[in-house]
Amino acid sequence: MAYSDKVIEHYENPRNVGSFAADEDGVATGMVGAPACGDVMKLQIKVNPTTGVIEDAKFKTYGCGSAIASSSLVTEWVRGKTLDEALSIKNTQIAEELALPPVKIHCSILAEDAIKAAVADYQNKHAQAAAGGATESVTLADQSICTPN
């Protein structure tokens, strides 16, 4: 399997691995994928509620080298972006940056979905907080990436 140097880089030195503390303010979580497919990504973003800018991001991924690299890259890219800007990140950009081969494109799609899930979770919590009530739920995104046996 020929990996691009960038994928190897992210694998050897993943950026922002970890989790935020459970009680930290402004944290939202997106979890996508399924163990049966061989890919599960958990992306957490820490949003400044006043500015709506993502100040920090962390990830944990169960998956192949390309999946790890995709999610690691995403934590770098979303920092300093507003929620809307983060939502505009396309999987094609991730795939291009990492030089993913066709068979690994789905990893970049999953990473894009992880961003959407995290943002959706933040908006959920924000709306619920506005309605009066904190929640610790994790939003699992609907996706049809793989159909295992």
Partner: protein
């Protein structure tokens, strides 16, 4: 602490089940037949041919000695895949007036399963039996699958992924008592388990050279003479190999297979003990980690195989972290089809466990240093990947992963 120095483009080789290096002693025997004794073994009229024929017949004896057969029961082929094709297609065709039902197992090599699929396309009926979670087939289920129109059952001796050894003796006796031909794919078995066809109820047996320190591109099919088994040929031409497989015999290849099997006869007993202790040492080291399990029956297994699942870690990412060790994985990402190992699935393993499985196979040239190096490297990578794994987090927090609604499928 191991001081093993691994060369950049030569990882530690622990993939002996995929293929083996040609033993230098085998290579030495082969080379004269490329440049000096190059005659066609079928040239009966001159010394070049006679010398080649002599070498071929010696090799035939060497192969038959390892497996307890008569040399006249050995047919040279291009490898175990061809032997499997020849056995199944050849026997099914020859005996088709007796019936058109075939039996095999879900864990067979693709060379058998795909051939069976082809037989189905051509009008045969095939029963593919499931296996237990140990990888062994249920004997009663096997017995029950036999019908009056069953002509052949094909069961591999040793599974390539797990090393599980089927109860060939019992299955063969059942076939014999019902008049069903018994074909055994022994590609992974020669030189690893004791085979004596003078007492085992096997009618057709496929063999490979390159799994036993011989060259790639040559194998053999054992075809029983007593009682006589007949097969239609697949390769037609000059009538070589008693009409069962035409084509000029590749003397150098056959000499290689013969010498490899000869060395196996001599050295198998001692070598397997050494390999077994290395394999057990590897498992002792790896099993110090939590949530690590062996795939396949622990007892009925060849001494060189170790198929392990490292829970909550994906197989391809694991292999990426161990580029200096050559192994195989049951993960979908590492197979061409993006599907997890069908053998592990047939054993009831979940997709996740199939994804996180690694096959280590030990061989003639494996050293203790290499095993210690492997234990250390694998432990490091598994630890690092678990720290990155959301599944590991959840398990540590006491969450049952089966209770989570993952994506809608």
């Amino acid at each position: 602490m191991t001081t093993l120095i691994v060369q950049p483009n030569r990882p530690v080789y622990l993939d002996y089940a995929a293929t083996t290096p040609v033993d230098p002693r085998v290579a030495a025997k082969m080379i004269p037949y490329l440049t000096e004794r190059f005659g066609n073994p079928a040239s009966r009229s001159h010394a070049y041919g006679w010398a080649a024929e002599e070498a071929v017949e010696l090799a035939r004896e060497q192969v038959s000695l390892l497996i307890g057969a008569d040399p006249r029961e050995i047919v040279w082929t291009s490898g175990a895949t061809e032997s499997n094709n020849l056995a199944i297609k050849g026997a099914a065709q020859f005996y088709k007036s007796k019936g058109k039902h075939l039996i095999t197992l879900a864990t067979e090599h693709k060379a058998v399963l795909d051939t069976m699929r082809e037989m189905e396309r051509e009008g045969w009926e095939v029963t593919v039996l499931p296996v237990l979670d140990t990888g062994l087939v249920d004997i009663d289920a096997f017995k029950a699958a036999i019908r009056p129109d069953t002509v052949l059952a094909s069961v591999m001796f040793v599974n390539n992924e797990t090393g599980v050894i089927q109860d060939i003796e019992t299955l063969g006796q059942i076939c014999r008592s019902q008049g069903v031909l018994f074909h055994v794919d022994a590609a992974q078995a020669t030189g690893k388990v004791h085979i004596d066809l003078s007492v085992m109820p096997i009618d057709l047996m496929s063999m490979s050279a390159h799994k036993s320190y011989g060259p790639k591109g040559v194998g053999a099919l054992y075809v029983r003479r007593k009682p006589r088994v007949r097969i239609d040929a697949l390769m037609h031409g000059g009538g070589h190999e008693r009409g069962m497989r035409s084509g000029t015999l590749p003397t150098h290849q056959i000499v290689g297979m013969g010498e490899a099997y000869h060395l196996a006869s001599k050295e198998m007993a001692v070598e397997l003990e050494r390999i077994r202790s290395l394999r057990d040492h590897l498992w002792a080291g790896l099993s110090r980690m939590d949530h690590v399990q062996i795939n396949g029956d622990f007892e009925h297994r060849t001494p060189n195989h170790l198929n392990v699942s490292f829970n909550y870690v994906e197989g391809e990412s694991l292999l990426m972290g161990m580029k200096d060790i050559a192994v195989s994985s049951g993960s979908a990402c590492t197979s061409a089809s993006l599907e997890p190992s069908y053998v592990l699935r047939a054993m009831g393993r979940s997709d996740e466990l199939a994804h996180s499985s690694v096959r280590f196979t030990i061989g003639r040239y494996t050293t203790l240093e290499e095993i210690d190096f492997t234990i250390a490297r694998v432990s490091d990578v598994v630890t690092k990947l678990r720290e990155m794994s959301p599944l590991w987090d959840m398990v540590q927090a006491g969450i049952d992963l089966n209770s989570i609604q993952w994506a809608a499928h």
